[in-house]
């Protein structure tokens, strides 16, 4: 099911169900707009890019060690070179690999930016509590930062609270 949700602050959130065989969601978004344009005229909204969050989450990683884990990251520079780093397993974080981190940092200094990332928002990273039921997020939440400037993907099911936590964090670091 696809959902359009208008927040109190005017943010219009478009949630599109995950495809199994394609990462292109533009057609789904266009269909949603055409179905709901009588309620949400497209001309009343502008895109909310989260591009800066992609780079900020990496550059501020030392302060975010208990909040996120990086599985992989792709950087690009103005020569068209792409530098990709991926962990050896799902549980590992690029933050703990000094060699890979240094390489990515050095690359970023030369007209480069973070093009895409695979990150995990760590269980309890948003709230210091011993109570299992008060932790946010309630489990590790996998997020893929890729695609359009205003797009991110959560490939597995998660609770409403966890989803809103991820959305808030992305806006915070944007």
């Amino acid at each position: 099911m696809n959902v359009f949700k208008l927040h109190d602050n005017g943010l219009l959130e478009a949630r599109i169900y995950t495809h199994d065989n394609s990462s292109d969601y533009q057609n789904d978004v266009t269909k949603m707009w055409s179905l709901l344009s009588f309620l949400f005229p497209p001309s009343d909204f502008s895109e909310y890019p989260i591009a800066k969050a992609k780079t900020n989450l990496w550059t501020k990683r030392n302060a975010l060690k208990s909040v996120i884990r990086y599985s992989d990251s792709v950087l690009r520079n103005s020569l068209g070179t792409a530098l990709s780093a991926s962990t050896g397993s799902e549980q590992q974080s690029l933050f703990d690999d000094q060699g890979a981190s240094n390489s990515l940092d050095e690359f970023l200094k030369h007209k480069a930016y973070c093009d895409s990332s695979n990150i995990w928002w760590l269980k309890g990273g948003g709230k210091e509590s011993d109570n299992e039921f008060e932790m946010l997020p309630s489990k590790d939440v996998h997020v893929i930062l890729k695609g359009k400037l205003n797009e991110f993907t959560i490939p597995a099911k998660c609770s409403k609270q966890d989803f809103e936590y991820v959305l808030d964090q992305l806006r915070k670091y944007n």
Binding site: S23, D24, S46, E47, P49, A51, K52, T55, V74, R76, S78, L79, G80, A82, S84, K111, Y113, D115, L149, N150
Partner: protein, 119 residues
């Protein structure tokens, strides 16, 4: 070609001084042949909206500062070949990164803006 001020382009789309300064700063360090994605330009210029950036980039292309191209990329990540438009992209292409012929999918295409004359 003057790089001293691209403010006449940003002002045309009612962008503030900050956008003008960032665009001028970026352009003054451009080198011929460099390529930028739309995302990269957005991060560097920080315009008021993506719609305005699309207009600014279109103007930069129209005035000859940038050239729009379509790059076919290997599934392994590297670029294979550039084309002037999507219509010019063949259905299949030899991927020298993986030494095999690949069927070109939308995920293999990347729109780039190439600097025509450095600063």
């Amino acid at each position: 070609m003057s790089w001293t001020n691209l403010g006449n382009i940003t002002r045309k789309f009612h962008e503030g001084l900050g956008t003008t300064v960032r665009l001028n700063r970026l352009a003054s360090h451009w080198h011929t042949g460099e390529v930028y994605t739309f995302d990269h330009l957005y991060q560097e210029i920080s315009p008021s909206s993506t719609q305005n950036l699309a207009l600014i980039v279109a103007e930069l292309v129209q005035r000859g500062f940038l050239e729009k191209l379509v790059r076919v990329e290997s599934p392994t990540g590297g670029g294979i070949k550039d084309f002037p438009s999507v219509e010019d992209v063949p259905d299949t292409i030899y991927d020298f990164h993986s030494d095999r012929e690949i069927e070109v999918q939308p995920d293999n295409l990347r729109i780039l803006f190439k600097v025509r004359h450095g600063g």
